[in-house]
Symmetry: C2
Subunit: 351 residues, 2 copies
DNA sequence: CTGAAAGCGCTAACAG
DNA sequence: CTGTTAGCGCTTTCAG
């Protein structure tokens, strides 16, 4: 066997690169397999060899090359996260919870954000696939159906968070938006409100439509009509727009209870009806938001809202990824819970 | 040459895995090298061959395996991002800008978040190194000096964002916290305020100490003393604590101008002095924050603050990574700019 | 410009 | 339990 390395002075033979398992093997006086096994959980190595290998590795500063490992075992431990609007409190929270949950299972997040005008999800997903990720989690945008098959064919799991289902084979994590919105309607109606309104955004995301529909349907079921206003992107500013749309007209046509499809919208809405229209909350109008972002609990808002538990979403995501295939219930729903704070007046008869 | 594939009907010969360059080569009737060159920008291939390869690749759904590519070329196109408190508006914004900036240069972000009690940065960094990232960007925690050498030895760039410099060889991106804080002091003093205070957190991060020092020194230079209160972690709640610490005592010992080292702190502070102490801003007390997070511009706050431009930070980060070595100025500073909104009263004599 | 051959660093059979 | 032998999928000399 020809060996370029002429025995003496191994040291940090990093010839422009990293220390390899061969370097460690040589120093420890064992084979490369022994080194590999030492760093593979659950492989069988004698304590003696293991000790020597560890020692040599430490001295040399060896680290396994996960790219190489992934190449052969096709377990890269990478999962692609497709997001948008990362700066938004809800997205940031979900990302945070998700990366943490993944890390606990030994998975690492490759984050892709696209805020570009035409979110070319397809191209982005292609790019992600090149990294041989074990799964792709889509938190934003709508992946084309073709990508689902492509992922399946390659053994890459596709997890869709609050996305419409685009085909068979993907795992779907959805919040019970309809249920949550219905709770909001119910709560407002029980408080004796009659003039109901919804402040939503123009972005026709599944979340937006489900929440709006859920509220409207529940209200109508109880005999109320709902005024829905949709403005701009799902942002603080859109909430301002919504407030103006609702309160610029004649005063007695204005609603006395409004459901904002998002806490962000609610913040803009509240600030605007207070500052521009001099309205008090909840004396003049009750407000309910959705998501329970950190700002909802801030003193300036004290917003009553539906909590969409990012913790649970994150758990569901890693569970879908780590689940040993074949589970037939590929879609799991996480419920919403009403967090009562101070923006809705008391229920009738509950003085 | 022995080839298991018996010629007919290549199709999606994905034997449990991905399509390889060999598959494409066979279908296109060329060598694997030709395929490789086709997908390597700037390699020399004839248009004819290139066309055939692309066609075959499309039909087969081929994608280069970046793990394998990275293995040989040792250019993984991956960069590790070490963060904490991703849910915090400032961190989220910085992460967002950074991943976008990286993506524009063909780099992809591997995100590591640790919020755990003892942030074992060292172990985390080791883990990241296993992915053969091209650079590690540390946005949180303080990396041990040893890691710097380790990175250098392996040709991995280390970019420290608002961290204390831990050795030679790292690239350092710092905001001009001292300068910004001094501007805050100056602005408050020019408004005629005499009883100055700083609301900071207990976390002794470089950012916290530099901002506090910057303010105090500038104020003292101008003959004022400053009351500094430090409470909890850098959060909204810590701002509440700060407010109570400052205003619970006798009324005329209380400050009439306070600088919060962070907008988050400022939000908690403002809500608390308004709601718990019935103070008006800026009539009773002027407030300046730092960072210019999105919430600072919300109607409820209209916070005058120092903008720490995450866009610039992100640019500086990728520049450090992509810079062709040898640039001697390994540390770049991004300035702060005062964003005047509505929480500081007018300057004396400026009406 | 193109193909053949030689690995990148690692793991996974397979004997011993 | 250990070492040897093959590759994983790709790029890259090196001839032609």
């Amino acid at each position: 066997m020809i060996n370029e390395n002429n025995g003496h002075s191994v040291q940090q033979m990093s010839r422009g690169g990293f220390i390899t398992s061969a370097d460690v093997a040589e120093r420890a006086g064992v084979s490369r397999s022994a080194v590999s096994r030492t760093f593979t959980p659950g492989a069988s190595v004698s304590p003696e060899v293991k000790r020597k290998v560890i020692a040599a590795a430490d001295e040399l500063g060896y680290r396994v090359n996960r790219l190489a490992r992934g190449l052969i075992s096709s377990r890269s431990n990478l999962v692609g996260l497709v997001c948008a609007n990362l700066e938004t409190p809800f997205s940031a929270g979900l990302l945070s919870r998700t990366t943490s949950a993944l890390a606990q299972r030994g998975l690492h997040a490759l984050v892709f954000e696209f805020n570009g005008s035409p979110p070319d999800v397809r191209a982005e997903l292609q790019r992600i696939l090149e990294f041989r990720v074990e799964a792709i989690v889509v938190m934003s945008g709508s992946p084309p159906p073709s990508i689902v098959d492509e992922c399946m064919a390659n053994g890459v799991k596709l997890v869709l968070v609050n996305r419409p289902v685009v085909g068979h084979g993907s795992y779907n994590i959805v919040s019970d938006d309809q249920g949550g919105a219905a709770m909001a309607a119910d709560r407002l109606i029980r408080a004796g409100h009659k003039r109901l309104a919804v402040v939503a955004s123009e972005s026709g995301t599944p979340t937006q439509v489900r929440r709006t529909m859920g509220f409207v349907e529940e209200a109508e079921r109880k005999g109320f009509t709902v005024d829905v206003t949709r403005n701009g992107a799902t942002s603080y500013d859109a909430g301002r727009l919504g407030a103006r749309a609702l309160f610029s007209g004649s005063r007695d046509a204005a609603p006395d209870a409004v459901f904002c499809t998002t806490d962000l919208l609610a913040a803009g809405f509240m600030d605007t009806i207070r500052n521009e229209f001099g309205l008090r909350i909840p004396e003049d109008v009750s407000v309910i938001g959705y998501d329970d972002i950190p700002q909802a609990s801030w003193g300036a808002y004290q917003l009553t809202t539906l909590k969409q538990c990012t913790q649970d979403l994150a758990q569901a995501i890693v569970k879908a990824i780590r689940n040993d295939e074949h589970s037939e219930d590929r879609t799991s729903t996480v419920g919403a819970v009403l967090v009562e704070r101070a923006t809705v007046r008391a229920k009738l008869g509950s003085l």
